[in-house]
Structures are given as structure tokens and as C-alpha cells.
Symmetry: C2
Subunit: 255 residues, 2 copies
């Protein structure tokens, strides 16, 4: 295990930038996760791990199969430098962002498409919900928070290691799905079918949108049907991740 | 409009404590909301407003009916002192926490009961979801985050002004609901009915629990039926607010 004592070390600077800037994450197609739970989820997807980083005094659990993974022991000061939390557990995984071939993407038949959802916590919760409801993949359109932002990864609770998440142009995805005969459900407040009237589907894509303004109207014109979660009483709206959960669980086949 | 320039003013100190400590909120049964949207929601429930607080240079919208509400103009420094956000809009409402008589509580027939959910953001989102799904009230049991924590209020998006939220002992609420013949649905991972098999109900209570450990097993023994949101694939769990949304919308009568 190599030891790093200085916050000026170039690797430490790189890790810190991965935590704090999207630019660094995009440029290197890497990200950092923190804490025992997320690091363990990373360990299960070992092909993505570039290294494990452990604060002095913290033990790597014996049951983790990481003998062939580069490991760094760092001082408390270095751990603090790269931590995003107040009470760090002192364990991190430096990971590569997964990639998915065109061929693999063609096999996805249950998709969550997200247009311009800006809050990282919402994006993370939606990735977690997509995995739980049996989706094959999540596609993030323009204006979405970075799926590898530490806040996104924390909300996703490790689900981003289990379900493919790709960035893409939804204006291209929608006609491509239509060509593959996969129905696309949009979400809208007007001229929309109440979600409980929608029939469950073996394959479909659900398109949800921005916290304030919803799905881009230009995209909505390309959907097969638009759904709405009815609001009772004086309610003005639902949180977008909650609405997504209600919609996904209504659409997935119960058989 | 009275003017306050000093952060040492006793009212300013009280407002700040309402933002930062549950003790102050509980002792005075008051809370502070911030920003145009939440302050406007407070204005609609004018009986709860004790005063409006406005940073110099910020205008109260003309359409707000607040001529009979005490108003304070404060300096930028005072506004910063009582603000919880990075980019404050400089408008606040000092409010009383609403109270609900025993008699009124007896009229509630659709309830969300929450056991020990600790994250204020989750509690706020759940209050918002309860309102949207047509619940009559939310009951917060032991160990729940404060519904008047600024983070809770922000996540609730003003819904706490529209739906009654009370704190209570769930071990007393459950038998009282049973006596009124209102069915109580618990949530559990084992020995539970998949949520899509549950029938919609005209009146019911849904009991959800802690982010990590779920509902207290002692409480679960007092429910009529326990439900589960099925998890597909490698998913380990759902966010508790998302799960609550799926459960509530499955149970509410669609007629």
C-alpha cells in the first residue's frame, strides 16, 4: 500500500478536482465515491475501480476482494481534503465512468429518459428508483445534473453501479425508440392521461422533465401518450423523483 | 413599517434561533419561512403570520393582502443573519405553528403516519406527497425530523400550510384508528403484500418508517395488513419518500 502525506500530491489534487468539478470528471471520465457503503458497491463492479483510498487507522473489510486493486493510505489531512462530508468514514474509491456500446444500448427496452432535471439529489434518487422498478437504463438529456456529482452518487446509494446511465440527446433518442416500436410516455399537466388509467407494459420509455417547467414541449410532441399524476386538494406539484416513482411503478408489468 | 438595523436586536436573535434550533421552535411553537414562494403560501394562511420581514430594496408584491400584518424592514446584514440559503431573496414570514383540536383530528379519515424518518428533506417531501395524494393529515411519531426545520419546510414547498401535520405517539394512534374502523397499512419487507395487489380505499392510514430500519416492529404488529413495494434487479431499497408516494397513490380511491 502506497502512502500519501501531502495535500499537494498531484493524485490528491486530481481526486479533489473529481469531487469538486464536473470539468475534471468529464475530462477524465472518472469519479470518486466515499464511505463504506458506496465503496463496497464500487468493489462489486471491480472493473471500474482505479484505486482504493484509505485514511490511516481505517481498515478495509477483510471480505472485500481487492488484493489486485491499487491502494493508497492517506493522512487525515489528505482524507479531509478529498472528502465531501462532515464526518468522513475515511474510505474512498477512485472509479472510471462506465461506458456502454451502441450495440448494448440497442438491447434496452425499458428506459427512463430525463430532460433537464437540475438537482443532483433528484437525479440520484431517480437512478435509484429506475433500478428498483426494473428499468434497463437511464438516459440523461441536456440540462441534467451530472450523474457523477458526489451529491448524485450519494442519493443514488450505489444504484449507479447496477444500472446503466448514459448522457444523450433526447431529440435523437425519441425517434430511435419509435423506430424500435418502443412506446414513449411523456409527462404533462395538460391533455394527459391519469397514470392509473395507463396499462402496464413489457417495454416502454418514460420521459420526465425539469423540476419547474416539466418536459420540453418540443420533446412532448414526439411521445406516443402523455401521462399525469393527479394532484388532489390544494397541491401544486409533486417532487419529480416521487412522481417518477409513481409513474414507473404504474407502468411496469406486474406479471 | 418598522426598521431593524442591528443583528443584536432581540427579535432578530429570536428569528435566528427559530431558524437554527428546534428548541426555540418547540418552546414558542413558531417558525420562520424564507423566499417569495413560501412567504406567499404563508400569506394565504394569514392567521398563522406574526410578521413579514423584508430586506431593504425588496418589494412586497402588491397583490399580497398583508396591510394588517406587522412588517419589518431589515438591513442586508440582518437578512443574512436569519437566512438559511446562500442567495437569499430577502423576504421572510415569522409564523405560528398551527394547532388542531382533538375534535378536528377525529374527522381525519385518510392519514399518513411516519415513524422515525430522520431526514428533514424526506419529511418535507412526504408532507408534500401526502397533500398531493389527497390525505387529510400527517402524523409524525417519535424520532422524526422537525416539520418546522427550514430544510423540511423548503422540501415541503408550502404544502405544510395546506395539510395538517401533528406530532403524536403512534402506539396510541394505531388502536384509536382501529376503534374508528379505519384500516391501517404498515410497510415491511417480509410477510407483506405487493402494493399493486392492495385495493384502493375510501379511508385508511398508511404507516411508513425509518430510512434504514423501516417501521418499528412493535408498531407493525398493530397494523391490519403490511405492504411492500417490490424491488427488481439488484436494487436494495427505495428512498422512503418515493416509496411513500407509490404506496399512497396505489391506495387512494380512483373514483
Amino acid at each position: 500500500m502506497k502512502r500519501i502525506e501531502s495535500t499537494q500530491n498531484s493524485l490528491v489534487k486530481h481526486w479533489k478536482k473529481l469531487v469538486t468539478t464536473r470539468k475534471e470528471r468529464d475530462k477524465f471520465a472518472e469519479f470518486l465515491v466515499e464511505g463504506f457503503h458506496l465503496t463496497e458497491e464500487a468493489v462489486k463492479k471491480k472493473s471500474l475501480i482505479k484505486s482504493l483510498i484509505v485514511r490511516e487507522g481505517v481498515d478495509i473489510p477483510e471480505e472485500w476482494d481487492v488484493s489486485d486493486v491499487p491502494q493508497y493510505s492517506v493522512t487525515a489531512q489528505v482524507a479531509k481534503e478529498i472528502s465531501e462530508t462532515e464526518h468522513s468514514q475515511g474510505i474512498f474509491a477512485h472509479c472510471a465512468q462506465p461506458e456502454f456500446s451502441e450495440e448494448e444500448q440497442q438491447t434496452w427496452t425499458k428506459l427512463l429518459l430525463i430532460d433537464a432535471v437540475q438537482d443532483p439529489g433528484n437525479i440520484g434518487t431517480m437512478i435509484r428508483t429506475a433500478l428498483a422498478s426494473g428499468m434497463d437504463a437511464v438516459v440523461l438529456g441536456k440540462g441534467c445534473a451530472d450523474p457523477y456529482n458526489p451529491k448524485t452518487v450519494r442519493s443514488a446509494q450505489g444504484s449507479n453501479f447496477q444500472i446503466p446511465v448514459v448522457k444523450g440527446d433526447l431529440a435523437e433518442w425519441l425517434p430511435a425508440l419509435k423506430e424500435r416500436s418502443i412506446p414513449v410516455y411523456g409527462t404533462a399537466l395538460l391533455n394527459a392521461t391519469p397514470v392509473h388509467e395507463a396499462e402496464s407494459q413489457e417495454q416502454f420509455a418514460l420521459l420526465v422533465g425539469n423540476e419547474g417547467s416539466g418536459v420540453d414541449p418540443v420533446l412532448l410532441q414526439q411521445t406516443d401518450q402523455n401521462l399525469v399524476v393527479p394532484l388532489y386538494g390544494a397541491a401544486e406539484s409533486l417532487n419529480v423523483a416521487v412522481a417518477t416513482g409513481i409513474l414507473l411503478y404504474s407502468l411496469v408489468s406486474k406479471n
